[in-house]
């Protein structure tokens, strides 16, 4: 049981790394227009697929976590999601009055902010429950 828990946790970490390993090069290649349009579409889809697999593995890892860890993850995700939704709402409202800064708040940056907010939530929740 303990072994299978470790395996499932390791798989989610491996797929997180795999996603990072596909997302960052894909971003660079697409940004610098290294590849032609038909292939660029495939290149844009690959990180999404690896992310979907990572999420699947993460959900599997959640299901075998003990209840304290599950609570920590749940709160981290709630905090991360709420802060991301608030940021998106604020950016949308600011864009309505022609106030936007794509240098710092583009779609790409939002992905980064979303992860940042999740880790903030994780840190807060870990502190709260002392785990």
């Amino acid at each position: 049981m303990e072994q299978s828990k470790k395996t499932v946790n390791r798989q989610s970490i491996v797929f997180a790394l795999l996603h990072g390993a596909t997302y960052l090069p894909a971003t660079w290649l697409l940004k610098h227009h290294v590849v032609d349009p038909p292939f660029s579409v495939i290149l844009a889809i690959v990180p999404v697929v690896t992310f979907a697999i990572f999420v699947f593995k993460l959900i599997k890892a959640f299901s075998i976590m003990d209840e304290v860890k599950q609570r920590v993850q749940l709160e981290a995700i709630v905090i991360g999601f709420s802060l991301t939704a608030m940021l998106m709402m604020l950016l949308f409202l600011l864009s309505l009055c022609d106030l936007s800064n794509p240098v710092w708040f583009s779609y790409g940056h939002l992905v980064g902010y979303c992860w940042g907010f999740y880790f903030i939530g994780w840190f807060i929740s870990k502190k709260k429950y002392g785990v």
């Binding site: 003990d66 209840e67 304290v68 860890k69 609570r71 709260k128 429950y129 002392g130 785990v131």
Partner: protein
């Protein structure tokens, strides 16, 4: 919510890691329950009572303010 996990653990001369292993949670998770930061589920409370050969009421009590 108050609990007597530490007392029951001492009676058996178990460490947090020992009890955590018996009830199938992490040591940090058990520490969180023992210090009252996290309220366990009914299943976990019953599992804990079973390994101590006692009842949930002995292990967990409402605070005076909660009663």
């Amino acid at each position: 919510m108050k609990n007597t996990i530490k007392v029951e653990r001492a009676k058996k001369n178990w460490t947090q890691a020992d009890l955590a292993r018996h009830i199938g949670i992490s040591r940090q998770g058990l520490n969180s329950i023992e210090t009252g930061k996290f309220i366990p589920s009914t299943v976990l409370a019953l599992r804990m009572a079973k390994v101590f050969n006692t009842t949930v009421e002995v292990l967990f009590q409402l605070d005076d303010i909660e009663e």
